[in-house]
């Protein structure tokens, strides 16, 4: 009751100050943890509020005692201080009471924790890989015959947010809805199903977090961590990487579309078709029309891959960012010199730098395209057309 009033008062205060400070519409800021979109997130919210009220209760007792003492036991009112300085009974009491409160809180906390750690009987498993600075989602799907029907894709910050967030871009973040919380390819999951995520990372530690699901766990190279959620209502849920992972840590958001099951199934079919893993009527994989490999196609494809995988360090202009230790590719010895050396660094990376080994992350075709692009864009003009077979040979 009094908390609602306090909230109202705070809203009013903030609104008042804002109307003076900013011309923008009142933001839909929140003061508290969301109740969220899963049963577990509701329980976590309940725990959070329980703890909050326990703290408020203790706070009222402790702070009132302090305030009363400050008012009454000052020299002007109480010139003669008391002489006592210990009392075993009260000391035992105020050691015991907090202990009992802790036990009361610990029981529901442990109960919720047990539920969160139960990964059995999941309906869908998706492998999530944190990469500087994007997420890769791999749907681990099989058909009835155990044939692999999975597909995967990268999920990166949307282009408009990315333009706005460049230092001194002069662009207005308020002009973009969900600024920094939008991606090109969202994760799509069905409502009402138990979705299990298997988290890992390709380079440094990241953390996958969607507040409305009350799940946050680190994605660590060499580890597979598990989390799960069962979304109760359809919607778009947003989150961010929660573990410092370098320069663009703030710019690898997470967006989850929770959709009804039929819609999810339709989306999966579409993705499988695109990936060429869908079984056709005669049982053969309907592979995409093979594309003739030529300079024009490789450059177009390469630019796409470059923007997604390389531009955050080497910049869209290929000029790198010397201040952060990211070398230029434009006119560089690597991108204009020996091809074998160029392929080596792309495939195997450079130890102790953000230049990871991309060999395990990308197809032969994508690597061939991006290397072709790097060797011919920005006036590098080597004329080299790298074939996917060259990549297979260099691996």
């Amino acid at each position: 009751m009094c908390f609602t009033k306090l909230k109202a008062a705070l809203r009013w205060l903030t609104a008042f100050a804002l109307s003076a400070a900013s011309s923008s519409a009142l933001a839909d800021y929140t003061l508290n943890m969301p109740k969220g979109a899963t049963d577990i997130s509701g329980e976590v919210y309940g725990l959070h509020m329980l703890l909050f009220w326990v703290c408020v209760g203790i706070g009222i007792v402790v702070f009132s005692a302090m305030i009363v003492s400050i008012i009454l036991h000052r020299r002007s009112r109480n010139p003669e201080p008391a002489k006592w300085h210990h009392n075993t009974t009260v000391e035992v009491i105020w050691t015991t009471i907090p202990f009992i409160i802790l036990i009361v809180v610990a029981i529901p906390a442990a109960r919720t924790l047990i539920k969160m750690e139960d990964f059995r009987q999941s309906d869908i498993s998706i492998k999530v890989t944190g990469i500087q600075w994007k997420w890769k989602y791999d749907y681990l799907l099989h058909d009835e015959n155990g044939q692999e029907r999975g597909f995967g894709f990268y999920s990166t910050l949307d282009a408009e947010s990315n333009r706005i967030r460049q230092t001194r871009s002069g662009l207005d973040p308020w002009s973009k809805e969900n600024y920094l919380l939008e991606v090109d390819n969202p994760l799509v999951v069905p409502v009402g199903k138990k979705v299990r995520l298997l988290l890992t990372a390709a380079d440094v530690i990241h953390a996958w977090w969607v507040p409305e699901f009350a799940v946050k766990k680190d994605a660590i190279p060499g580890y597979i961590n598990e989390i799960w959620f069962r979304v109760t209502k359809p919607g778009i849920y947003r989150g961010q990487c929660a573990e410092l992972c370098g320069r663009d840590h703030a710019f690898m958001p997470i967006v989850v579309h929770a959709v009804p099951e039929e819609e999810y199934e339709a989306w999966v079919r579409e993705q499988q078709e695109k990936a060429g893993v869908l079984a056709s009527a005669d049982g053969e994989a309907a592979a995409a029309e093979p594309q003739e490999w030529n300079m024009e196609y490789a450059m177009r494809q390469g630019e796409k891959v470059y923007t997604q995988m390389c531009a955050s360090c080497h910049m869209a202009t290929g000029e790198g960012l010397a201040a952060a230790g990211y070398p230029a590719l434009k006119g560089s010895a690597i991108a204009t010199g020996d091809l074998a050396a160029h392929l080596d660094i792309v495939l195997h990376g450079k130890p102790n730098t953000a230049m990871m080994a991309f060999g395990g992350l990308m197809s032969d075709e994508d690597i061939a395209a991006v290397v072709t692009y790097e060797r011919n864009a920005w006036g590098n003009d080597t004329g080299d057309l790298v074939e996917p077979s060259d990549i297979a040979a260099a691996r």
């Binding site: 943890m33 008391a82 802790l102 989150g239």
Partner: protein
Amino acid sequence: MSTTAEAIHGHDHHHAPLTGWRRWVFTTNHKDIGTMYLLFSLTMFIIGGAFAMIIRLELFQPGMQFVQPDFFNQMTTMHALLMVFGAVMPAWVGFANWMIPLQIGAPDMALPRMNNWSFWILPAAFTVLLSTLFFDSGAPASGWTMYPPLMLQTGDAFPFAIFAVHMMGISSIMGAINVIATVLNMRAPGMSLLKMPMFAWTWLITAYLLIAVMPVLAGAVTMLLTDRFFGTTFFTAAGGGDPVLYQHVFWFFGHPEVYIMILPAFGIVSEVIPTFARKKLFGYHAMVYATAAIAFLSFIVWAHHMFTVGMPFSGEVFFMFTTMLISVPTGVKVFNWIATMWKGSMTFETPMLFALAFVFLFTIGGFSGLMLAIAPADFQYHDTYFVVAHFHYVLVPGAVFALMAATYYWLPKWTGNMYSEKLGRIHFWWSAISVNLLFFPQHFLGLAGMPRRIPDYSTQFADFNMWSSIGGFAFGLAQLFFIYVIWHTYRGGVGKATAQVWEGAHGLEFRVPSPAPHHTWDEPPVIREDDQDVHS
């Protein structure tokens, strides 16, 4: 600072202190070394604070107006390293140097030459660390926790940062050895351990924590060093190593480290409140035992910093329960401080104001700490601004306010001059209001979903960030005013201080004149059974 004439008066077996720069470089005097520690930490507090101003400036509005994300990460990293290792820890060593010998009736620290060395390592260490800001590839940017594999991506700054951390560790260990040797060997006759002032007690326990954990940190960063330069793979999964191992080792150091920063603050508050309440500390023995209990628990709670790392259920439950237990002895401390105030005869001079604000605001930081202990809820709080708000509440209106209380409490003893109560109160209210404006909204930001260590954020977080930044700038300015108050006092303040300084003060440091002569307690004081100046 104090005149040479006074210092040599009546002590012909001492040499006169050297003059000029040689006095400071070659000194073995605990007061001179204490002064240098305190001035050094004040300098680091201002530089680290300037880094915080850059952080709050960039976060004032959404969008990237001023810096590149790398530089922002360098600022968060350097801000934390400077504040933890450069400001708070050396400040406590400075207070220990100045006050512990005075408080226990010892003529100096037990190991004066090592004392000199342990101080002079620090300017060297921080010069090395700060110099990395001028490197082409910049300063370390992977946070003060230096988690691999990210830390291994650091540019040329990498070995410099690690060398600097090694030096800080050596300095801290030597400081700690000195405190233990002094407290255990050099107490005046009759000053039994359970008669010592609380500040000496909390420092004794802190010193054991330092000796236990600083080598652990040194080990962790040495493994980083060999991973980078000597082909080991302690923390590299590709070579069979384990990135999570680092986090366990780091937090085995890191959790006791936070008590290293706060236990001496408990000691200060336990001295300031009785003085201004004119009543003995309530439950002295319980206070000592609670401090020891907190120190013990600090060794078995480290993985609560890592609830999201993917521990087994049993591990999560163990660390959740042990962490919750910490609130019991901490609660005892808060209750005892209030019981000390109860039926006292309080006046509210500046040290008392800071001490009372400490009890108030540290308790708020304790509440958010209890909430963070609950593992399922921590999955939501972890690595958000809720955590930033929590640890800043315990470190700024916690540890730093205690440092300020201690400064105002003993400044008259050091300089011989009374500070201006009016200026002190302006500094207090200015700091107390702005620090809450700075950190309280960060609770809301974290709960609403803003991760920490990000240079830019979605527009829904804009309002509270603006509030927080305004509070930050105001708090920063208040500390420049603090320096003016200290300078003003040094230059004469509002008049000469008496030896007693505070009407209600007990303690041996108030039996020597103000300013304290260069050499004190050549003749140890005699402590009698009924002595009012010691606890019983």
